[in-house]
Symmetry: C2
Subunit: 357 residues, 2 copies
């Protein structure tokens, strides 16, 4: 075998890196990053390429990218906040992708510009995410008034949530007036999404009477609407029964601060029926809450929540990743389990060890 | 008018203090504190005076008292943990005191030793608390196998919860095998109580169909049983309807980790009917969860929870009471509200300011 003439790819030329990277990252590395001004100007014009590239910068862990992302976000912020943000959750198999596709198409048919984002902390650079999967929304992907982005990957829900909130800012600056944020019921992700949207929609299937099986506690109470999908064919009767059951259950709850009485409706995403009813429900909610100022109040509370949440996560992270703390914590938790230490004494020991360092 | 001969009370003799103090505190200040050994020996014998004095030490903010309390708690800990802990919540007016009285009497009639504690962060040294009010449980107060203690006063729920958990240890060491912890639906106190008991009971009244009015979201899902009180006289029919309604609602929830299916029952505290049914429900729960190990698992999880909760509260307290932090936080929250700063940037600013100090 003769000597192989090594053909260096442009990527390798730039960084001497051999492992695979996403095409978008290659493009960012290869060419000089456009200026912040260029980014913002083009985002404001609704340029999808610049929008995508900006979101990729936001998601990047590279310090230079982070710095640029920060500048772009600051410059975009005054143009953000002018949209309706809708969270959609439901167990796998309930038909979220199909629903979002027809719902998104309905919205664009009404003249709206729709962005679809996702929060899925289980996604990673290697395995991607099942949410925001463009292959499952083939029609919406082709719609020039829709923008679909998979979940950022991340080590923690906090990190993923932060990047999603920053992506929302960029999408709003780019003129998207309706932002859909999809999530699955994984860990705390529904609570995180609920804390970043105006309207929280729970997508359900009609069961065999076991209506709330599989739904984590508290999610029902978070919902502003429950939409029972697959109300088609033989399933229509069951879907209507489920609707009655859920409506009755929702009426047992105390009044929400928004004054809004959560609604239950059926639909069939695959047959594209009653999708307009879903939007009418959301519109009614928006009208009510803008009129009674709850909309604005909730946005302010959410902003404040995320400031404090970010601070608290960083404080805890700094503490719990400290090796001395890790060691002492395991030690005291053992003693607590053996009833040798009270919880309070255990906490004191760990804090003392941290402060002595 | 001649000169008044001032009669100095013993209190004034000791401290030159003129303002009123509780009798118990006077006794502690005046006499030398018994030794830790004396405390523990007498508590283990079930001596109520020593038990009360020990709990007062636990509640005291005096450093010397705190130190002694800590020693007593450490020595008592091996003798604790052998009880059933029951949390009872319900809105004011539902009849908690009457219920706890007849329920407590029923338990002592079965040969149990019952301690009644309370978590009420709104109580203070001056105004006391409406919970654990002995005047509302006149029969139970006289029962030699019952011990009733009002809520500790405290500046924060965390502080009150901690003192209550420490009182539980002492009561258990004193031989009380059933600990009732009463709370009202004030802020997060129900969540705190739920995190320190084995069984969580929600006391309700039959309404006019508006069954869950006034109950905060999430409480229904926490309940292991819902007891509908005042099922007497003209109210019996409504109580039974409410029972059906709640039973149906509870069946819509996903299975609890304990496997236990929450029960709904009616009773009349004032007529002392069906109180034994309530205890039978709790017994069934204890049997089930001890058999399937959930009881032990939950106790371990709660202990761990309180270690981390205590640490996190102290970390946050240290941060948020810092004057530089307080100032910067107000500053950035304003900017966030004006859409001049993102939540994330705001959090970074505050953390930077804290770390620079």
């Amino acid at each position: 075998m003769g000597k192989k003439t090594k053909h260096k790819s442009s990527l390798e030329e730039v960084k001497g890196i051999k492992q695979p990277e996403s095409i978008q990252k290659i493009k960012l590395n290869r060419s000089k990053l456009p200026s912040t001004k260029a980014f913002v100007e083009n985002i404001l014009k609704g340029d999808i390429t610049y929008l995508s590239r900006a979101i990729t910068l936001v998601e990047s862990t590279n310090t230079k990218h982070q710095k640029r992302a920060s500048e772009i976000l600051s410059a975009s912020l005054p143009y953000a906040n002018n949209s309706i943000r809708i969270g959609i959750t439901g167990v796998p198999g309930v038909g979220k992708s199909t629903f979002i596709e027809v719902f998104g198409k309905h919205l664009t048919s009404l003249g709206k510009k729709v962005a679809v984002l996702a929060v899925d902390p289980s996604s990673s650079i290697n395995s991607g995410s099942i949410l925001g999967d463009k292959t499952r929304m083939p029609s919406l992907v082709k719609d020039e008034n829709a923008f679909i982005r998979p979940s950022p990957s991340g080590e923690s829900l906090g990190g993923v949530a932060q990047k999603t909130r920053e992506a929302i800012i960029l999408c709003e600056a780019a003129g998207y007036d309706t932002i859909i944020i999809e999530t699955v019921g994984v860990g705390q992700s529904e609570i995180a999404v609920h804390s970043m949207v105006d309207f929280f929609l729970l997508l359900k299937l009609a069961g065999a009477g076991d209506e709330l099986q599989g739904i984590k506690r508290g999610i029902i109470e978070m919902a502003d609407a429950i939409v029972i999908n697959k109300a088609d064919g033989d399933n229509i009767k069951r879907a209507n029964l489920a609707k009655i059951e859920f409506t009755r259950a929702l009426h047992l709850y105390p009044l929400k601060e928004s004054i809004w009485q959560p609604k239950v409706t059926t639909c069939s995403a695959i047959e594209n029926t009653e999708i307009d009813s879903v939007w009418e429900i959301i519109e009614a909610y928006i009208n009510l809450t803008k009129k009674n100022s709850y909309f604005e109040k909730q946005r302010n509370e959410q902003n404040k929540f995320w400031v404090l949440e970010t601070i608290n996560e960083k404080l805890k992270n700094q503490f719990y990743t400290n090796p001395i703390v890790k060691k002492e914590l395991i030690n005291v938790l053992n003693k607590v389990q053996q009833h040798e230490l009270s919880s309070f004494e255990a906490a004191k020991k760990v804090l003392d060890v941290y402060h002595k360092k």
